[in-house]
């Protein structure tokens, strides 16, 4: 039987030609790679997401917000400039309409206001289902896996660095699904009161881009250049805290101070332990997102009168270039990391976190729990918007495939980075020669601790290179730390206000002389890990 030959119908041509033309036009306008990424994400979002059936009940809190659509239209009329006015709204919970105020937020990241999942902020009454929090940001997650920031904060919080409250939620606006979002405490003077530590407001300063006055982004300001660059939040008395902040800015700005003088003055103004935890968390989370210009908070503790930093918007695995061990995120870190004992404190917190989170598997357990909890909501979320290319304006719908692949990618990235970091902190590339004196040649980065039995009452004076050191007594022994010398990469600018700098650890080649010769029972350990060096 002969089959009759059939030509391609005109109808098909009518569809195919405009489609092809649109591809060509977009490829020309956007570039082929950008076009392919947008098209692929749109295609996958349409085809793959629809396959998820019966995702089950939400494991996340459902935030049911009602607002007059006219207000939403007004807020969205000229974004990002139009989103800053607060309008009345209600938060529905168990049939009760809790009055709130609502506004859009976020000027600097396009994912906040472009696309169909806009970030917003809620202002709540004292007694609300979300009490004790009064201001909460509800953010379109910045990564495909949606939990990147959430887990970054979890890590920092677990390391003992103060963090804002952060919870993944599923949002409904006016009865329609808005999707999975990240609920984030907006820090205010009630930071310590919420945590059950203070009766009243405490002084809080926000270090961020300048507020927007007219249409147009104001020029960035280097926070530690002036105390005026920090915005006061809350209702606490600011007389003392302002003076302390000015003093802190002066110490940072003054390049003539010696290290001991700077250390002693800084120690009066900042909570050194909290800063060490904060910088350690930055290293472990591997983020550069808090910098000279934004994402910084200072809270003056009611109990110590010193400033504590708050780990804010710490994107997990948003690394500085070159994976430095001593990344300088801002001017305060520039000086903090130069003080050897503070640097060691930071490194010890980082290594403790590696043991707690990585070696014991605690992070991956939390990661799996988070995925388990978020899964039904992600499957139900047909409104996933994010940056699908590296261009800020490309906020488009993305798919479950992106999310799943991002989960896997994040798992691999975190494991690989933490393996490297653990090895780096624990590395002991040390060459030891003992004769009348001790000769140490070290190419790894950790400082060394020398410990030997105490036989004298007074601490013996030892000479390490050109420095004279006095050991401390510890459980019947003398102990001294040989700190590492830092340098800057060639061509770097050794100034506190320079951006994106980092320190390098210089190799150590040192003779150590003891008054009675090298003690026979001298033990050399890695000062970060306390592991003996053999």
């Amino acid at each position: 039987m002969r089959r009759r030959k059939r030509g391609i119908g005109k109808g098909w041509l009518l569809v195919a030609v405009p489609l092809l033309l649109s591809f060509i036009v977009f490829a020309v306008l956007l570039g082929p790679r950008r076009m392919v990424m947008i098209a692929a994400s749109s295609f996958l979002s349409t085809t793959v997401d629809g396959l998820a059936e019966d995702p089950g009940p939400h494991g996340l809190r459902v935030l049911d917000v009602r607002i007059d659509p006219a207000y939403l239209d007004t807020l969205g009329a000229d974004l990002p400039w139009s989103g800053g006015t607060k309008y009345p709204a209600t938060l529905m919970q168990d049939g009760i309409e809790h009055p709130v105020e609502f506004r859009y937020r976020g000027m600097y990241s396009a994912s906040h206001f472009l696309g169909g999942k806009r970030s917003f902020r809620l202002y709540l009454k004292k007694k609300s289902p979300l009490a004790p929090y009064r201001k909460l940001n509800v953010i379109n997650p910045k990564s495909f896996n949606m939990v990147n920031n959430h887990l970054g904060m979890w890590i920092a919080g677990r390391m003992g660095a103060p963090v804002p409250y952060n919870e993944m939620v599923f949002v409904r606006i006016n009865g329609e699904d808005h999707g999975v979002m990240e609920m984030y405490e907006q820090i205010d003077g009630d930071f310590e009161r919420i945590r059950g530590l203070a009766e009243n407001d405490v002084p809080v300063y926000k270090g961020d881009y300048p507020p927007i006055v007219d249409r147009g982004l104001p020029e960035k300001r280097t926070l530690w250049r002036s105390a005026d660059n920090w915005e006061f939040e809350g209702k606490a008395d600011r007389t003392l805290s302002d003076a302390k902040l000015r003093a802190l800015v002066d110490v940072i700005d003054d390049s003539t101070l010696t290290i001991p003088a700077r250390r002693d003055t800084l120690a009066q103004l900042i909570d050194v332990d909290a800063y060490a935890r904060y910088l350690a968390a930055m290293l472990v989370v591997n983020t550069k997102h808090m910098d000279q210009y934004h994402n910084q908070w200072l809270v003056m503790s009611e109990r110590t009168g010193k400033f504590q930093p708050v780990f804010w918007d710490g994107l997990l695995m948003f690394p500085p270039e070159g994976e430095p061990l001593y990344f300088i995120n801002d001017a305060l870190a520039h000086w903090f990391l130069r003080i050897p004992e503070w640097r060691l404190l930071r490194d010890r917190y980082a290594y403790a976190a590696m043991r707690d989170l990585h070696h014991s598997g605690a992070f991956m357990q939390e990661y799996d729990r988070t995925i388990e909890r978020i899964r039904p909501s992600v499957l139900a979320d047909r409104n996933k918007y994010g940056h699908v290319t590296l261009y800020p304006a490309d906020v488009h719908r993305f798919s479950l495939a992106h999310t799943i692949s991002s989960f896997a990618g994040m798992r691999a990235t975190v494991n690989a980075y933490w393996d490297r970091l653990s090895k780096r902190l624990a590395a002991n590339a040390v060459l030891v020669e003992r004769d009348a004196q001790l000769h140490l040649n070290v190419t790894s980065e950790a400082p060394l601790r020398l410990t030997w039995p105490a036989t004298e009452v007074d601490p013996p004076m030892i000479v390490a290179g050109a420095d004279t050191l006095y050991p401390e007594a510890l459980h019947g022994s003398w102990t001294v730390v040989l700190h590492r010398e830092l340098g800057l990469p060639e061509g770097s600018w050794d100034r506190p206000f320079a951006n994106w700098q980092h320190y390098l650890v210089m190799p150590m080649d040192l003779d150590v002389r003891f008054p009675l010769g090298v003690p026979r029972q001298l033990v050399i350990t890695n000062a970060i890990t306390d592991e003996p060096i053999r």
Binding site: K127, G157, G160, P164, Y165, E167, G196, A274, Y278, R303
Partner: protein, 739 residues
């Protein structure tokens, strides 16, 4: 053989027979099988909820019920609004008219913020059944689990709010059934006689920054102190040591609470802990509240918890063994409990379900009972449910900076050395396990804590001069062996600056024998987290006996406070105190031949049974006060020139016999106390001379006049009943003996 190809239609009769057979079979299956059969775990992935749904339609067995008539709570429109309770959508407090059986008044109420339901607040002066705050939560048959849990918690000796089911009505419309439970707050503690306690709440969710420090309901000093004490215990737990925690928490109550939290299927992270910290013992008692939500077994078993006051105790071998033993004991009591639960079903199921769905409701409760008795109670190693990673809340390490945390407790092995040091410093004599303070002068300039395991004996002529705010605490037996001629003196180093306390901190087994003590000038103190309100504070002794002593000039405080055990006071003179001179709580015994004079209160008796015999009260604000369900006999006393000679309140029973009341402003005040309950007073023969007013009795209290005190009452107070004088009856003839 060939089948006919002709199609045959199925007639209506065949349809009817087919349906009747199938439905009848299913009805028979569901209705004739015992309820426990339906409640079992089903194979092939059949879920309990599916079985319940079918049972709702097909289980037609008759259900035995009792005739419980639930209270109907009628709420009127709110002030300034006419809206019905059930139409109200706004949050916040509203004033509404509330009426139910025997009660009608305006109340404040608001919707709950953490789930559906309402909180109702009654007026302070018009408590409802003695309750100030209650929660009303929409109830279903599943809420029977909460009622079972209440019974179980009471059986295990836990403090728990009562749960009942009520109907809510508003605007003429009777709404669904609600679970009524008293809110756990300070008023709740007070109602249960825990006057001297603070409420402590602790979150178990380590991801919540706002729940990482304990919340203490108390004044700012109490908050700071308790937070520090708990942080110390948590730090010790983090370091793998639980001794500090075991000292802080009542272990029996902790075991009971952990059993309950395992049985009730709560999500630990969501519910948190509520405890009462008793300042006089320094111990915390967990309070059991039925969970608002339950989660399927095993679903949240691996979620880490925040460091907390209860679950780490299971790391102690002895504690875990006691947990297992208590659970085993509960297993043995299962038949009795099942019977109780069935009685509860009979009483409450008709309230929770209508007549048509009663069989279904019964199946649902059987399902709950099956889970409780046959799954949870029988599960081996239930304690493993609590073996989870623990960690601190977000940022805890940094936020802890500057929080006052007491020093770590010294390990027990160092105690021996400490006692040697103390003995050397004060030139004391130690013989075996007894520390003697021989005759001589002792200047105590820093807190002296004499450890558990050592008896302390003050001998005749010992004179203690105690520095300002310094205290002496004995953790073992305490003996003072003076006489009135050759007493033991305890005085402040400087008359104007009071010392803290001289205290016995017992565990219920110590003895306290005091004779010939002259003590003055203390004002109470808080030592190692325990509040000692008395200048002389005797807590937790099995027996306290004070004889031939003089207590005077207590500064701003109670002079003698006795908490727990048997009490015997004889010939003690209380003078010149500004506060309460003798405060007895949770005890039983006698106070004899003692005198009280001064401007404050003579004897305050709380939750105790005490006989006050032949005492005198002169010139006081209140001579004797009975509160918090005390039972007091005052007999043969002389009460002169007092503002109030006797005060009875808070469910107390006061027997007043053979006393003399001279020139008092008011002899007897019987009133409703802070617990919302009045008192009962039995007046026997007394002498009243020149008093301005004989009695003031409010509506909640009752006074009964009686002729003579009966033998049973005297026996109840440990007194010998007077011999019964039998009137000789004349016999019909003389007996042989008389002949």
């Amino acid at each position: 053989m060939s089948r006919s190809a002709r199609s045959r239609s199925i007639g209506p009769l065949a349809w009817v027979i087919g349906l009747v057979l199938v439905v009848g079979g299913l009805v028979a299956l569901f209705s004739l099988k015992p309820g426990s059969f339906l409640a079992k775990e089903w194979p092939l992935g059949i879920r309990a909820s599916e079985v319940r749904t079918y049972a709702a339609w097909l289980d037609r067995r008759p259900v035995e019920v009792a005739g419980t008539i639930p209270d109907v709570y009628l709420f009127g429109g709110s002030k300034g609004r006419d809206s019905c309770l059930f139409q109200e959508r706004a949050p916040g407090w509203r004033t509404r008219w509330f009426s139910t059986n025997g009660y009608a008044d305006s109340v404040r109420m608001r919707p709950l913020t953490d789930g559906p339901g309402y909180r109702v607040k009654f007026k302070k002066k018009a408590l409802y059944n003695g309750q100030r705050n209650v929660l009303l939560i929409p109830a279903t048959v599943q809420d029977m689990r909460a009622k079972y849990m209440e019974v179980l918690a009471s059986k295990l000796g836990l403090l728990t709010p009562e749960i009942t089911f009520v109907h809510l009505a508003s605007c003429g419309e009777e709404h669904a059934v609600y679970r009524k439970e008293e809110r756990v707050d300070m008023a709740f503690l007070k109602r249960f006689g825990l006057e001297n306690a603070s409420l402590v709440e602790q979150g178990l969710d380590p991801t919540r920054p706002d729940r990482q420090f304990v919340e203490v309901k108390g004044d700012s000093a109490e908050r700071v102190q308790l937070r520090g004490t708990v942080e110390r215990a948590m730090a010790e737990v983090a370091a793998g040591r639980t001794d500090a925690l075991a000292q802080l928490v009542d272990e029996d109550a902790a075991i009971a609470w952990l059993i309950m939290a395992w049985m009730d299927g709560r999500d630990l992270r969501r519910e948190g802990l509520v405890l009462a910290h008793q300042w006089n013992t320094g111990k915390m008692i967990p309070i059991y509240q039925a969970p608002r939500k339950t989660v399927p077994m095993g679903s949240a078993d691996k979620d880490p918890l925040a460091y907390n006051l209860l679950t780490p105790l299971l790391a102690r071998r002895g504690f875990r063994a006691r947990f297992d033993a208590r659970l085993d004991a509960l297993k043995a009591e299962a038949p009795e409990l099942r019977a109780k639960f069935e009685a509860l079903d009979k009483a409450w199921l008709p309230v929770l379900a209508d007549a048509v769905s009663l069989p279904f409701a019964q199946t649902a409760t059987r399902q709950i009972q099956f889970e409780l008795f046959d799954i949870r109670l029988t599960k081996a190693d239930a304690a493993a449910h609590y073996d989870r990673p623990l960690f601190a809340g977000p940022g805890h390490g940094a936020l802890l900076a500057g929080v006052p945390v007491p020093a770590a407790p010294k390990p027990q092995v160092e105690q021996g050395e400490a006692v040697e040091d103390i003995a050397k410093r004060y030139k004391l004599s130690i013989q075996a396990d007894t520390i003697y303070f021989p005759r001589g002068k002792y200047e105590i300039e820093e807190d002296l804590v004499l450890p558990d395991g050592y008896s302390v004996v003050f001998l005749q002529g010992a004179r203690l001069f105690v520095a300002p705010d310094v205290s002496v605490v004995c953790q073992g037996d305490l003996h003072v062996r003076g006489t009135l001629r050759n007493p033991v003196f305890i005085r402040p180093m400087s008359e104007q600056e009071p010392y803290g306390t001289i205290a016995l901190a017992g565990k219920g087994t110590e003895r306290c024998e005091i004779a010939g003590l002259l003590i003055s000038g203390g004002r109470g103190a808080t030592i190692q987290g325990v509040r000692y309100e008395g200048m002389l504070s005797l807590h937790g002794a099995v027996r306290t006996r004070i004889r031939s002593s003089v207590v005077e000039n207590a500064k701003e405080a109670t002079a003698v406070r006795i908490d727990g055990g048997g009490v015997e006071l004889d010939n003690v003179r209380f003078e010149d105190g500004a506060g309460t001179m003798l405060h007895i709580a949770n005890a039983q015994g006698t106070v004899r031949n003692s005198s009280f004079s001064g401007a404050g209160e003579g004897t305050t008796i709380v939750s105790s049974r005490i006989a006050v015999l032949a005492c005198s009260y002169t010139g006081m604000q209140v001579g004797l006060r009975a509160d918090a369900a005390s039972e007091v006999l005052i007999k043969g006393a002389r009460s002169e020139r007092n503002v109030n000679a006797l005060v009875a309140e808070g469910l107390s029973i006061l027997h007043v016999a053979d006393n003399t009341f001279l020139r008092n402003q008011l002899v007897l005040r019987a009133r409703t106390g802070s617990s919302g309950n009045g008192a009962r007073v039995m007046l026997y023969t007394n002498e009243y001379v020149g008093n301005e007013n004989d009695r003031e009795v409010d509506g909640g209290s009752k006074v009964e006049q009686r002729d003579a005190i009966d033998g049973a009452t005297l026996t109840a107070f440990g007194l010998e009943a007077p011999p019964v004088v039998k009137v000789p009856t004349r016999g019909r003839g003389r007996s042989r003996r008389s002949q």
